[in-house]
Symmetry: C2
């Protein structure tokens, strides 16, 4: 019997290879395995093609398997869609999928994140892990923290499953600093609450220790004593199952091993999920977006590779991320040693030092921080990220429009001028005067030069504005991560204040209160170290990128100038 | 009793200082003397201001004085209005004035020409000569030469009083080569017909002789043995009649005398009319347009001065025009010696060697031209001017749009980018990180640089595109002159063919026929010399102007480049 699925939400085909499916329509599936979030099937009208897996439920006799994408959150870099997503957020608890139905095209920009991803070895060879803990993680219930919602347009672009949860509404149970009743709070989910309340436990090996030290500008992550970088090259199309499945493989060469390994996008995606799960107060750079159609087109591959390179640079520059086991496994495990890979994969997925336990691995300087000072620093950073997020969005929109104008409008104007010079020279050629030949040729050449300048304007944005846009996109990802990180620290701080108050009222004993304060101190050290790291790489990245941009612009205008000089010389000959 | 006038055509005020007048409305005139084609008065609604003199008729008891502008022709550089003017041309015989009623604003671009202008000394001090021979010169009757009418859009922009007349329709009177019955033909009006038929006579002084010689590229005007140029400086506002009348005076300094003289626009206008009248086959460069409002504004004065300089350069480069008496009088007569000025003025206005008689002053090489060869050259030139006119119009429209885009769109784009960089630096300033101060300042500076580049784009067209547009406008004037010149030569050629045919049929005697051929030979020599001159100055002017344009463009892009380099350097400091 052919496997079937019922359509939950209407989907209109927008790209070649996709098919339109209507609500309640039953489609025949060619495979239960989706390809990067897409299923292949035949609809009631006999059309065969792709549609989003999340739009259908698989029918198994009477049993219905909900589409596993239903619980994942989507991240859209596009601001308009984001503010839209915000607007509809309160209605999300049932399923996130309806929001897909209104996004321009599911093939664009979908970015799953903050989803627990415990794939088993059996399905590792599929394009995507099929099991998902997403269903255990209900989407945020809306409402909540006024700091992060409704605070002016486009402040934070967040998934609905994170930071939507309310700010800790303390359960004032008598005698102890209570648990947060809002089980969707980031503070709770990250393990921050459990850690602060002293509920996290585990054995920390020496190798797992993460040190925060006092640096010139406050707490910082201890530097990686063995810094390295990693190149990403040679995206190559590979096939398996006798050509049934195709994928792109990238050659990664870390400088500390010099051994190239081949990795696929899904490996990056798996790694990303591990990192997000493990590090509650570290901003994991976002990997490039998923895309169903055009995955094998050269442009797309080049763009994805570029995104992965950006990602990799941020990973290797991070003192904690660069050294963590799962990342090292990813970078160093031989692509041909399947057994070793699976072993490392299993180990990473079984890592206990994640979430609440992660905080156990942090060792801080002996002198505790002044929590009031920390609070003011965190508030300052919060204000900074908001402002930076706004301005990054603004710069991004402005320069992408600038790129568009150069590629279309500016080009057209210069080429129109070029054309008019050509027309003039053609008219002049009718003059039959031997003494004007030089001039006519020079004018014709000037026409060509303006045509060429038009082309330059079309080609230039790829060289200078695009890298800036890539940088901004990456930072938009970081900025979207920070509200969660701040939430965790603020949650801890609130617990300290609570316990202080209860202590004064004699409701909690001193050692308990002291423990809360100590653990909040650890979280604060880690958060400030991460903020410090963010500023360091931000200054490094923006300086480098602005320099590159200006160098490119200078080269561009020089190229135009020398082309014009070439034209000018033509007028010297009589 | 206050002087009144009846409004012939509705006029809607479009600029400050103008008033709206309705058809048949009676307005009170403040003076019968108009100011550059405008009268001042008060309309029925009590509004006081300017309206076109040509739109009203002055009421004197029962007598009606037709507005003296009624018979003049208007030349519009604007192509759209021109093609419109062409379309309405057939209805013109009654009066030219109605065409004014539809022109966007009478204050723009009106260019009177080909009007006999025998001003008397008495009214010389008025802003404009009041007497006009225009009424003796009825407007063209439409129809006529298919070569110059309806031959595709925007081929020739001509006044209605010239070249509208039909191509010679020969009166086949028996025995002689007849007169052209179409008394509006340019051939007739220019005196070309009278000359060819041997009807012109006069005593040619040696000093009046104009020589055509054989040059490297065919017949050419004998070079001016005393070449000179003339600067136009210091436009100064002058008043007279106790401040009642104001005008702008320009200081002209010819290099051959080094004596500066002061001249007003109306002197140029008077000179222009003399030249047009005198030289039937020489293209008189057009003087800049008239304008009623804003005459004393700096921008307008600067623009007019620039136009007069262009005009002057074309005058002094012309071997015939540069040397002619009326021009020399204009350039050399002391501004303070009123008597000498009036004498020269009277002499010029009484010059008999104009029109038909002008041809008597031409002396040509002894060897006659091959008339078939001449005809083919003239046809080639005609095709050339048409094509050049089209392309000049096209280039002119393109670069004026290009200038507009740079001054508005390009500027806006660069300044938006500048603004976004500034916003980013403002966000970064919130970071409170001492190590980012250098970067933040550099980004702010980059913002300023892009703002400045935007300004450069606004300022640049005045430096490079505007001079090209000025050049094109001047050449549009020349190109508008050539149909008349070609008409005269073609009319002469037709007479030759006619007389040949009649000679073969025995209808005319040999000496008469020979005379026609000889006189046609003179006209042909003069026409070819003028065409040759046109090509020479065209190549000179376009080469110089394209070089200037490219030099300016190179300077512009270099300026941008060095500004960007300045910005780049800011990123070096930490």
């Amino acid at each position: 019997m052919a496997l079937k699925a019922r359509v939950l939400y209407e989907f209109n085909s927008e790209n070649p290879g996709e098919i339109t499916v209507k609500e309640n329509e039953v489609v025949v599936l060619h495979s239960e395995q989706d390809i990067e979030g897409w299923l292949e099937g035949t609809n009631a009208r006999g059309e065969r093609g792709l549609f989003p897996a999340s739009y259908v439920e698989v029918l198994r006799g009477d049993a219905v398997t909900p589409s596993r994408h239903g619980g994942t959150a989507s991240f859209k870099a596009d601001a308009q869609v984001d503010s839209f997503a915000k607007a509809v957020a309160p209605s999300f608890p049932k399923a996130v999928a309806p929001s897909f139905a209104i996004l321009p095209a599911p093939s664009q920009n979908q970015h799953k994140y903050q989803v627990s991803h415990h794939g088993s070895e059996e399905d590792w060879d599929d394009d995507w892990d099929d099991s998902s803990a997403a269903a255990d993680e209900p989407a945020g219930a809306g409402g909540g923290d006024p700091d992060f919602q409704g605070n002016g347009p486009s402040t934070y672009r967040l998934s609905t499953s994170v930071a939507r949860g309310g700010y800790p509404q303390q359960a004032k149970s008598s005698g102890t600093v209570g648990r947060n009743l809002n089980r969707f709070s980031t503070f709770v989910k990250s393990g921050g609450e459990a850690f602060v309340l002293g509920e996290a436990s585990g054995f920390v090996k020496d190798g797992d220790k993460i040190c925060v030290v006092m640096g010139q500008y406050g707490p910082e992550w201890q530097e990686n004593p063995y810094p390295f970088t990693c190149t990403i090259d040679d995206p190559t199309k590979q096939t398996k199952f006798k050509g049934m499945k195709s994928y792109i493989s990238y050659k990664l060469t870390p400088t500390h091993t010099q051994n190239p390994v081949n990795r696929r996008y899904k490996h990056f995606d798996w790694l990303y999920a591990r990192l997000v799960e493990k590090f509650p107060v570290i901003s994991i750079p976002h990997i490039p977006e998923k895309q169903a159609t055009g995955r094998f087109e050269e442009d797309f591959i080049a763009k994805r590779r570029k995104g992965l390179i950006w990602w990799m640079n941020h990973m290797t520059s991070h003192p904690v991320l660069a050294r963590c086991d799962v990342f090292q496994h990813f970078l160093t495990c031989s692509s041909t040693d399947e057994k070793a890979w699976k072993q490392g994969k299993r180990k990473a997925e079984k890592d206990e030092m994640v979430g609440a336990s992660f905080f156990l691995t942090i060792s801080t300087p002996a002198v505790p921080l002044d929590l009031q000072d920390v609070e003011s620093k965190i508030d300052g950073f919060k204000a900074f990220t908001k402002k930076m997020d706004d301005s990054v969005l603004y710069v991004s929109a402005t320069i992408s429009e600038f790129a568009r104008k150069q590629m279309l409008g500016f080009k057209k104007e210069y080429q129109k001028v070029g054309q008019s010079f050509k027309v003039l020279s053609q008219a002049f050629e009718l003059d039959q005067q031997p003494f004007s030949v030089g001039l006519n040729e020079a004018i014709a050449f000037t026409g060509e030069v303006y045509d060429a300048i038009g082309e330059y304007f079309t080609e230039q944005p790829k060289q200078d504005l695009e890298p800036v846009m890539d940088l901004l996109t990456l930072y938009q990802g970081h900025l979207a991560n920070y509200p969660d990180i701040i939430h965790v620290q603020k949650g801890a701080l609130t617990k300290v204040k609570e316990s202080q108050k209860h202590g004064e009222e004699g409701k909690v004993d001193h050692p308990h209160s002291e423990g809360i304060r100590e653990r909040c101190n650890i979280i604060s050290f880690a958060t400030l170290a991460e903020i410090n790291h963010f500023h360091q790489i931000r200054v490094r990245d923006f300086r480098a990128q602005m320099q590159h941009y200006l160098q490119e612009q200078i080269g561009f205008f020089r190229k135009i100038t020398s082309k014009l000089e070439e034209a000018l010389q033509k007028y010297d000959s009589p």
